[in-house]
Amino acid sequence: MMAALEAGADDVISDEDGHIIYCAFENIGEVSTSLAKELGAEAESVKPIFKPHNGTPIDAEKGATLLMLIETLEEDDDVQNVYSNFEISDEDMAKIEAE
């Protein structure tokens, strides 16, 4: 992940789905361009986002309603992006999935 940090990124998070690189809003063009050059590959997505300072923990029951809310919002043709600060435990997530 040195490539990302050298390119001016502030933070890199890697999980089983891929790599998420965060940088200052003003530097997004610069960082993504030099990263693409360094890696020889374009990113899957490059965009300004709203990142929550702190997560709000939420239980399975409310979490299910919340996910429904977010999903319905995203299905609206006028809506481009939805951001939220929810935090659902793995256990509760499994419960919601099972429903």
Partner: protein, 150 residues
């Protein structure tokens, strides 16, 4: 975003991907059109348009669709899209920010409000929740590049 990837997994498993994909294309084209309208209709001279085009390519949107979206910006009878941000609380006091591009603010506001209402949330004033978020850049690379980056 906390829980983000897990949430994505759920959405995928529900088998709604096809529907979401066509929606995704229409959302990407809308962003391209608005970006092209906000400055020069040339990605080399308009950084917002450059990002929008790059993201559309990243999602394998056909080049024809991309060109059409750019050309749409210079069409005189085109729709006028406005950027609107809605902020509110979902169930459990979770903060939610919604970004929309709309040609009819009344319709969008009423849809968003009713979606919040039906799902245990309330729509608040602008800036009522955005102070809890940072505006930052996010760059996503798929896992197959992992080896290169280590």
């Amino acid at each position: 975003m906390a829980g983000h990837s897990k949430f994505k997994n759920i959405m995928h498993r529900k088998g709604r991907q096809d529907g979401l994909r066509s929606k995704l294309f229409s959302k990407l084209s809308k962003e391209i059109t608005v970006a092209a309208k906000s400055g020069m209709p040339d990605p080399a001279m308009n950084s917002r348009l450059r990002l929008a085009v790059q993201n559309a390519k990243g999602q394998s949107m056909p080049k024809d669709n991309i060109d059409r979206a750019i050309n749409k910006a210079s069409a005189t009878d085109g729709d006028e899209y406005q950027e609107v941000r809605y902020e509110g609380y979902g169930p459990g006091g979770v903060a939610v920010i919604v970004e929309a591009l709309t040609d009819n603010r009344n319709r969008t506001a009423s849809n968003v409000r009713s979606t919040f209402g039906k799902n245990g949330g309330t729509l608040g004033e602008t800036n009522s929740v955005s102070f809890m978020f940072d505006r930052i850049g996010e760059i996503i690379y798929p896992l197959k590049l992992a080896m290169l980056m280590m």
